[in-house]
Each structure stands twice: as C-alpha cells, then as structure tokens.
C-alpha cells in the first residue's frame, strides 16, 4: 500500500526493501489508522513532543512510518510501557497502539489498569477480530462462530466465551476521559475515526488524561476476503457485536485533584542517626553474641535494637538480625545481635554468649546452645525445666514483676536491659543504654518515663540480688 502523508517520514528508511510503500497487505486497516494518527499529529503540531509506543503484531513497525519519537516493547505491554513513560515525562504526549491479541488477551490487565488509573496517554486499540501477525488465530474479539486457524469449526462461545467488548468494559471505570468505538471500513466511517483519533490526541495536548479509541479494522488476508469483502465483514458482522458509538467524553470536566505531598530534602528524608563516617576497628572491644527470645509482643526485637543502637552510636560494629521465616514458629520471636570491634561475620548466631529468654519455648530451645562461659537470663516466672550446659551461668530475673511494680507492665524487656547493664554483659556504660532507651521511644514520648523507672529499678535489683 502506498501512503504519503503528513506526519509520516518522507521515505521509510527503517524498512527493508521499498522505501515508499508500507508493509501492510492491500485493504488492511492498520495503514489507514496510522495515516490518520500521523495527520492528526502533524495538524496539532505535536510530532516533537510525542512518544509513540508500538505493539507486537502486524503494527510492530509503526516506527517505520510515524515521524515522532518511537518506542517498541514486548507483545501486550505497550500500555505498561506507556504507563512508565507518562510518569517520567508527564508533560509530553504519549501514544500507545495495540491490536486485539496484544491488548485484549496477553496485555489486557495492563491496559485495563492503565485505564483505571487514568494514565495520561492516547490509547488506540485496533480490533480486527483475529491475530493477524501470527497467522489468523482466534482473538478475544473473534465473533461467535467465526472460523480462524485456531477455531477451525467456528468460535464456540460455550468453551471460549463471547467476543470481548473492551469499550464496554472500560466504560465501567471512572478515570478514562474519553472512550469511543469507530471503524475504518469505508470512507464515511473513516471520517468519524479521524475525528475520534484527533480528539484523543487533543486530550493529550491539553493534558486531560486517558483517552481510548477502539477502531474496527479489516484484515483481508486472514478474513479470507478481498478488500471489499473484508470491509463488508467489519461493517456487517463485526459492528453487530461491536456497535460504533461514543461511550463518553468527559474532556470538559475538571479532573480530580491529587494528594499534595510536601517536598523534602534528601538529608531530611535519609536522616542520619550518628555523626562521623565509616566505623574503625576497635581491638579492645571483644565480640559478643546475644540472642533475645520470647513471645512476639514481649518487646524482644526492640530490646535487641536498643542495645544495637547504643553500640552503633559508640562506633562499634553491630548487626541485628530478626528471627525469620521458618525460624519463627509458635508465636515465638527472637533476634540475634552481634557487637564487635571488627567486621562481623555471620549475623546469625549458633552459640550465643548471652541468652535472654522471656518464655519457656525459647528457653528450652536456646539454652542448650549457650557455650561454656556463657550467661543465660530468663524471666523468673518461666519454669526452668531444661538443665543448663556445664559452665553456663543461669540467672532467673523478675522482669515482669519489676515492670508491673513500676507502673509499666509491658516493659519487662526494659527490666532485662537494666539487668544486662548491671551484670556488665553489654560492655557499655549504663548512661549510653539509658540514652538509647529514650531514643527508642522517640515516637511514643509518653512511655519514656515509665520505662526509665523500670530500667533503674531493674538495675537496682540486679545490683542487690545478682552481684
């Protein structure tokens, strides 16, 4: 087919073979549709501003012809590619062009979701009731009873459903601004298609939102007809399933307003916790491995975090690793904290130097893993049934009681922190941990006072009873 048109390249340099004819079969609707798009782009003066996304299908080579920016991606994904484009070049004009296999089948959800989001692009949907490129297979839009290479007995609606009416489906969505179904089967219909295509592009020029135009299009080759016969099939058969009409035009209405997000600086967002840069090795700091364990909700993870934060503030190497996935069974939670003077190897701990256990399952599980010389501290009310390994010091500690007596019954974890400090197991001054504890309640300042009371009471108790 020979097409000369404004908005087309004067010669089709990207195409092999003849440089003035398109690759489309005689009577194919794609060439006409692309010509209408090209002329509209030229008339609206938007070729410099337009990025056109080609589909995979017979129209994969729109970029041979359309004189604007061109992008070609995977089969079915033109809408998703356009959704990505409009988000990074919101002031430009983005056009996506898809066939009925491309959009109606493999890429339907991407198109549907783009329409539902109201992504600001012009979306042209070419419905020829079959897959052209791959040899005339059945498309979602194939008519009931229509014979194709994959429906040789005719499309059986019992097993393959009714022709998919994309305009009617998209018309259920709130955000599309414009939805119309047109046809290029004859010159009268082409004039209407021309207007619809123009309108969709104007909506883009004005930045008004998502515009969808379905275009019924003849495919003589796969409809097994000459140009006239294929056009008649479109007008007579296809239009019965896919009536031509304007479904909506909301281009005169005000679009909804986005939620305003206040601009912030990177420094504000990535707020630093500590001064200074990379951590140096500290040969005097011995490596200690801590395991904190209990029921979820007992504050086990936060107890580990307060200690990790204090050590990190002091410029030590620290890792904090929560129990995770298969390790997290029966409502128990645990975390491993390693504090070291040198780069830390494994953040997971097989043998904790210090075990803190707040419930029985954790005590039973982890106590046997504590190596000789290690210390285990557990909530006093938990019955100790396991025997401690040789050389392991075991301290029951009334954490819950101290917390309750000091008016913060949920702060048993903080009581254990006080105990650890006092026993010298954290190798850090109490003052550092007190500060880390306060920092940990930055978002809940009301809890600071009670927790500090528990912390100090627990230190006192540990000093009196354990040392």
């Amino acid at each position: 087919m020979i097409v000369r048109s404004q908005g087309f390249y004067p010669e089709f340099e990207r195409k092999a073979g003849r440089k003035r004819t398109t690759h489309y079969c005689a009577g194919c609707g794609h060439g006409i549709i692309q010509k209408l798009i090209a002329e509209a782009m030229a008339d609206l003066g938007i070729q410099d501003d337009t990025v056109f996304v080609s589909p995979v299908g017979c129209a994969a080579f729109c970029y041979y012809y359309l004189d604007c920016g061109n992008v070609a991606g995977p089969h079915g994904r033109a809408a998703a590619v356009a959704s990505g484009l409009v988000r990074v070049i919101p002031d430009k004009i983005v056009v996506a062009y898809q066939g009925d296999g491309d959009l109606g089948a493999i890429g339907f959800n991407n198109a549907f979701q783009a329409a539902n989001r109201g992504d600001g692009f012009a979306h042209f949907f070419v419905n020829n009731a079959l897959y052209g490129m791959t040899g005339g297979q059945m498309a979602p839009t194939t008519l009931a009873g229509q014979k194709t290479t994959t429906s040789p007995y005719g499309r059986d609606v019992v097993s393959t459903g009714e022709p998919l009416k994309v305009c009617e489906v998209f018309d259920q969505l709130e955000r599309p601004v414009y939805i119309e179904r047109v046809s290029v089967a004859d010159s009268k219909r082409i004039m209407k298609a021309r207007k619809a295509i123009r309108k969709a592009l104007e909506i883009q020029k004005e930045g008004k939102g998502y515009a969808f135009v379905e275009i019924l299009s003849p495919c003589p080759t796969n409809m097994k007809a000459d140009a006239m016969g294929a056009a008649a099939f479109v007008s007579e058969e296809m239009e019965r399933a896919f009536p031509l009409r304007l479904f909506r035009d909301r281009s005169g209405e005000e679009p909804p307003r986005p939620i305003e997000v206040e601009a912030r600086s990177i420094d504000d967002i990535v707020s630093a916790d500590y001064e200074g840069d990379a951590i140096d090795d500290l040969p005097d700091v011995r490596e200690r491995r801590y395991k904190f364990s209990g029921f979820g909700g007992q504050g086990i993870l936060s107890l580990g975090l307060v200690i990790a934060d204090a050590a990190s503030e002091m410029g030590r190497h620290v890792s904090w690793f929560p129990s995770y996935g298969p390790e997290q069974r029966g409502g128990s939670a645990s975390c491993s904290v390693v504090v070291s003077g040198r780069e830390i190897g494994s953040p997971a701990i097989d043998h904790p130097d210090v075990l803190v256990a707040m419930n029985q399952p954790s005590l039973e599980r982890f106590l046997p893993t504590v190596p000789p010389g290690g210390v285990a501290i557990y909530e006093e009310s938990v019955p100790l049934e396991a025997t401690a390994p040789e050389g392991v010091t075991v301290h029951p500690f009334p954490a819950s009681r101290i917390a309750a007596e000091n008016g913060a019954p949920k702060a048993a974890n903080t009581a254990l922190l006080g105990c650890l400090v006092e026993l010298g197991l954290l190798d850090m001054p109490g003052e550092e941990l007190r500060r880390a504890l306060v920092r940990s309640f930055a978002a809940k300042p009301k809890l600071v006072e009670g927790n500090l009371a528990v912390f100090e009471a627990a230190r006192g108790h540990a000093r009196r009873e354990l040392l």
Binding site: N70, I93, Y274, W320, F321
Partner: protein
C-alpha cells in the same frame, strides 16, 4: 554520617543517591520494605512511585521510563523476578538501563520466605530468552545493599543494560550501621539514544527488532562485545587467602557465615581463607584463580550447586578437591556446619 538501617531500606537509600527517578513494583516478602520506603521517600523528593498491577507491568513500566532516558528500579523476589524475565531480555536487547533488586527467597514455586540463593542461574545466566546478560552484583552487608545499589545504577547506565542486585532474605531483613553516601551520582546526558518527546530525541528509536538475520547477528555480536568489555568491572574480596590451604568461597549472606568460619578455623590454627565474588556477572575470574591457586575449595551456598558450577567453570585448573556445602528450603547454613566440612577437608588432605 551514619544510620542504623535495615538492608532493604539501605537499597532505597542507595537508589536515592544514585538519582533513581522512578520505582515500579509489586509487593512480595522479603523485599517489600524496599517498596515501603520508596513509597514514603520518593514522592517528597519529586520522584515517581507506582505500585504496578504485577511484575510484568512493573518491568515494562521500567522499559518505558528507561526509554525516556530516566533511571528506574524495582524490587522483588523469586516468583516476581521469574515474571520479569521477558522484560529483562527486552531491556537488554533494546540496550536500556534499569535496576532490578532480587531479595531471594526459597523455591521452586511459592516456596517460603526464608533465605535461599536459588535464583543464581536465573540472574547470572540471563533468565530470559536470547543471548543476553544482566550485570549482577551480590551484596553481603547493609552497607553493600546501599553501595552496590548505587553501583548497579552506575553500571546500568554506563553499559545501557539491566543490572540486578542479587540479595537474599537475610540481607534484606538484617540491620547494621550504614554510612550514608555523599552526594547524588552524576550522569551523562542520554540525548543521543533516549526518546523523551523533544526535538533532540525525535529521531531516536528504542527497539530490539532486527528482521534481517545479518542485522540481528550484528546486533548480537555488538552485545557480546559489550558484555566482554564489562569484565574490567569485576569485583571481589579475598579474606585471609594468602597462606591458606583451604579456600572457602561463597557470595551474599553465605559469605558472612564463611567469614566467621574462617576466623574460627584460624583460631584453631587451621589455614583457611575466603574468596567472595561481589560481581557475579561479570565474574571475577582472574581473582578467583589467584585466590584458589594450589588450594582445595569448599563452595558454600544456599542452592543446589548453581554457584559451585560457576566456580568450576571459571577455574582454569580444577585438579584439587572441590566440595559443596549447601542448605536449601529457607534453612541458613550454620557456622558449625561449615566448620565441620572444612575441618574434614583439611584433615583429609594432611
């Protein structure tokens, strides 16, 4: 300046300092905190965040953003990364920069959310169709989750190729001190290749179609030359290797476990070292051979020998014993297990 941060958050911080323009992604454990932090941090910085309808959409949105010369990213885990493979191939074929983060969980199928390294082949061999490669970097700390994210963007842009940060559930969930990068990465003007709806780029074309076999072949050779030229970007770390008799090798969180094992073996007077590839593609081939020269090798991984096969492939001579210690299913390999295997090898050889 430092921050105490989770590995997943460190990725988002890295992306911010790399100047990433947009995040497109679909939620999946154990990668979701990357989306959560990007959703919170990107909009106030004027960057785009969009939760896509699926991973296929996300990778194609990235294709669109990259076509316009912008930097975009996504983060996911095995099932989602599988869905993105077609898109990765198209990104590579069309020579577009994009960064994909895989916080590996277990498989095959749905698996569970524990750590595994079973996506090695999919990541390193180019899991999609055709003759392409992704740049693959494997962090082993919260700091590297950030720094190698920046590096992924840098390399993706330099080579106009997708880059993958291959992390795992341990690295995503753990917290460590993070030294915050200084200043946002600078980048070159993409005007000569991108298509962003202006007169400068109107003539450009983003596509991966070459109907003529000779042209497609030329394109393929050009890509192969490009991949070859990436070799100079190989990164690795050798730890206590010089006088070692036994070389442990592992990447990602496994390398952390091996580091502890090496220290413990050295404390026992046993001479072990660790070779850790930081880039998995390009693979630090020379460095591995240097580290492994004359030593027996114990490969440690959370997969079925996928990494071991590559170690074999890249060793010029493989006349010494090479063994595999591995776990799967969300079980981490313990330092004890590695020690047991290493001691047995060291004793067996003396």
């Amino acid at each position: 300046m430092r921050k105490f941060a989770k590995g997943n958050e460190a990725v988002t911080i890295g992306a911010i300092y790399a100047g990433c323009d947009a995040y497109f992604g679909y939620p999946i454990t154990p990668a979701s905190e990357i989306a959560h932090t990007a959703a919170e941090y990107f909009p106030p910085l004027g960057k785009e965040f969009l939760q896509a309808e699926c991973e296929t959409a996300a990778i194609n949105m990235m294709y669109g953003a990259a076509s316009a010369g912008k930097l975009s990213m996504t983060a996911s885990s095995g099932p989602g990364i599988s869905l993105m493979q077609e898109g990765m191939s198209y990104l590579a074929g069309a020579q577009l920069p994009a960064v994909v983060v895989d916080v590996m969980r277990t498989g095959p199928g749905l698996g569970n959310i524990g750590p595994e390294q079973g996506d090695y082949n999919m990541a390193v061999k180019g899991g999609g169709h055709g003759n392409y490669r992704s740049i693959v970097l494997a962090p082993n700390s919260v700091q590297e989750m950030c720094d190698l994210t920046v590096r992924c963007f840098e390399l993706a842009l330099r080579y106009r190729n997708p880059a993958l940060l291959l992390a795992d559930a341990v690295l995503g969930q753990m917290m460590e001190s993070l030294t915050i990068p200084q200043g946002v990465m600078e980048r070159e003007d993409p005007s000569d290749w991108c298509v962003r709806g202006d007169p400068d780029t109107r003539e450009n074309l983003i596509c991966s179609i070459y109907l003529e076999p000779d042209l497609q072949e030329r394109h393929n050779w050009m890509l192969q030359d490009k991949y070859e030229s990436m070799q100079k970007e190989a990164m690795s770390e050798s730890y206590r290797c010089e006088d070692a008799e036994l070389l442990l090798t592992a990447y990602g969180s496994c390398a952390r476990i091996c580091r502890s094992a090496v220290d413990a073996l050295r404390d026992e007077g046993l001479r072990a070292g660790l070779f850790r590839p930081i880039s998995l593609y390009p693979f630090p081939r020379e460095e591995l051979n240097r580290a492994a020269a004359g030593k027996e090798v114990l490969v440690v991984e959370l997969s079925n020998g996928q990494y071991r096969d590559d170690v074999r492939l890249h060793l010029d001579a493989c006349d010494k014993r090479l063994e595999l210690a591995n776990r799967m299913g969300g079980n981490m390999i313990s330092v004890d297990e590695v020690l047991g295997r290493a001691r047995a090898m060291l004793e067996g050889s003396s």
